[in-house]
């Protein structure tokens, strides 16, 4: 039996971990390498790292004496993968096959592409052919409008695309994406639960696995995401601000009757 996955998402900005709210507020919360060791000890199902640095300035503004200081995200990836005996997905700043190759070489198992996939869908086709669909995750940032419709945004939630998420997810699947990561801009860091209607409609539109993200504020939200059709449920902030977030998250899923990998 395939288990439903529970995945921490780590956001990397200027070489540091940050928490995010509605894609606009970012607060520094820690060191990326330190954190992966903790997750590895917890034996989590999988990890997603997203480099959301806006420019190419990777200065570390705070020194952590216990852990190596690394500025370049590729160095961070290399260091992270030394202690990561679980699947690792890496996203951010990926524009071409060579960018992907560099990340796979350093220990990424999957890469996720977002803005560039919309601008240049051939990248999905070519990367799926080169690395296999299973290694290509298309990440979709969605804004729910007041009238109930939704629109895909790129460039970290800045640029509207005119695409609906269902339409884009279906296209990405047809180009060869192996998984879809859904993030809701309006739910990011808010803690009121996933956009279940969004997950339901994308789950109905595609046959590839879906990773739900954005909005978890309570462990009970995970089961709702699975019931809406996600194969995996992801979250960012809750992993940093609650104790034993893996064990307690899984417990809540088991309690709701979801089959998870219990460690």
């Amino acid at each position: 039996m395939l288990k439903k996955r529970l995945i921490p998402v780590l956001l990397l900005q200027n070489g540091l971990l940050v928490r995010s709210e509605t894609f606009s507020i970012h607060q520094i919360i820690g060191n990326p390498i330190h954190e992966v060791e903790r997750f590895n000890q917890w034996n989590v199902d999988e990890l997603i790292y997203l480099d959301i640095t806006k420019d190419d300035n990777y200065d570390l503004r705070r020194a952590d004496t216990k852990v190596k200081e690394l500025k370049n995200p590729l160095d961070i990836l290399e260091e992270v993968s030394k202690n990561c005996f679980m699947p690792l997905t890496w996203g951010g700043k990926i524009k071409n096959l060579e960018d992907m190759r560099q990340r796979f070489l350093r220990g990424a198992d999957k890469v996720t592409i977002n803005s560039e996939a919309v601008r240049n869908p051939r990248l999905i086709v070519e990367s799926a052919r080169t690395f296999g669909s299973q290694a290509i995750v298309v990440s979709i940032d969605v804004l729910r409008k007041d009238d109930g419709t939704n629109e895909v945004y790129i460039d970290g939630g800045k640029t509207p695309t005119g695409l609906t998420s269902e339409h884009w997810a279906k296209q990405a699947e047809s180009y060869g994406a192996g998984e879809i990561l859904i993030q809701s801009i309006d739910r990011d860091g808010v803690g009121c639960g996933y956009d279940l209607e969004l997950i339901r409609s994308i789950a109905a539109a595609v046959k590839i696995p879906i990773i739900a993200c954005s909005g978890v504020g309570d462990y009970r939200h995970y089961a709702q995401g699975i019931e809406a059709g996600a194969s995996a449920v992801a979250a960012a902030n809750i992993w940093h601000f609650k104790e034993l977030s893996d064990r307690n998250g899984k417990r809540a899923m088991v309690k709701a009757g979801i089959d998870v990998r219990v460690v």
Binding site: M1, L2, K4, F85, M86, P87, Q134, K207, S231, R261
Partner: protein, 207 residues
């Protein structure tokens, strides 16, 4: 004991090397077929498409080196994911491609009509080991391993199957035939259970 990991341009070699480092085994990434002469154990990792994988093995003469080391010298060999699939006679991804044919069989796309069985098959799934299998020595029950694939190995002779997994239908999670082993899952990404499988591989016939 030197484990050599074949670098044929397909995938996450670093992860495999890191996993061996975690169990205190010297693993080296090997970029020339002649280096395999110095290997005690050989790993064929791999992420990607069957055709490209085989083309890369043939272009650099890895196929000949593997036959020599594995069939003639009898060195223990482990293929991981695509590396296991390449052991087959034929792959069917993007048209038919001849494989290494070290274990007779075909590699075919997994099919599923039911929406709850989404493809690719990605995630943790439990593997039931066959009795007497070398890779699962010490395993008392089925354990979860990490899979990420759309194709499955269908061997001609089912006695090579050492582990089975269930997703829509049963499929082959691992194979072993004498000194040749393969896992469809990624042991290097399967936490403690995966590291235990790698340890068993290292200990196989280790005197």
């Amino acid at each position: 004991m030197v484990v050599m990991i074949i670098d044929y341009g397909m995938g996450n070699l670093r992860s495999v090397a890191n996993a061996f480092a975690a169990i205190n085994v010297d693993a080296q990434i090997c970029s020339q077929p002649s280096q395999l002469n110095f290997a005690d154990r050989i790993i064929l990792p791999g992420v990607g498409a069957f055709g490209e994988g085989m083309a890369n093995l043939r272009r650099n003469g890895w196929d000949e080196a593997i036959y020599e080391q594995v069939l003639i010298k009898g060195k223990p060999f482990l293929g991981i994911c695509l590396g296991m699939q390449l052991l087959a006679t034929t792959g069917t991804e993007h048209g038919n491609t001849e494989g290494l044919n070290l274990i007779g069989g075909n590699v075919e796309k997994i099919t599923s009509e039911a929406i709850e069985f989404r493809l690719p098959h990605i995630g943790w799934n439990s593997v039931s080991p066959s009795e007497g299998s070398q890779l699962y020595r010490g395993f008392k029950q089925a354990k979860d391993f990490y899979f990420v694939h759309s194709y499955a190995f269908i061997p001609q002779d089912v006695s090579v199957v050492s582990g089975v997994c269930d997703y829509y239908t049963d499929f082959v999670a691992s194979i072993e035939k004498d000194n040749i082993f393969g896992t469809q899952y990624h042991p290097e990404k399967s936490q403690h259970a995966g590291l235990a499988v790698l340890e068993n591989f290292v200990l196989y016939n280790a005197g």
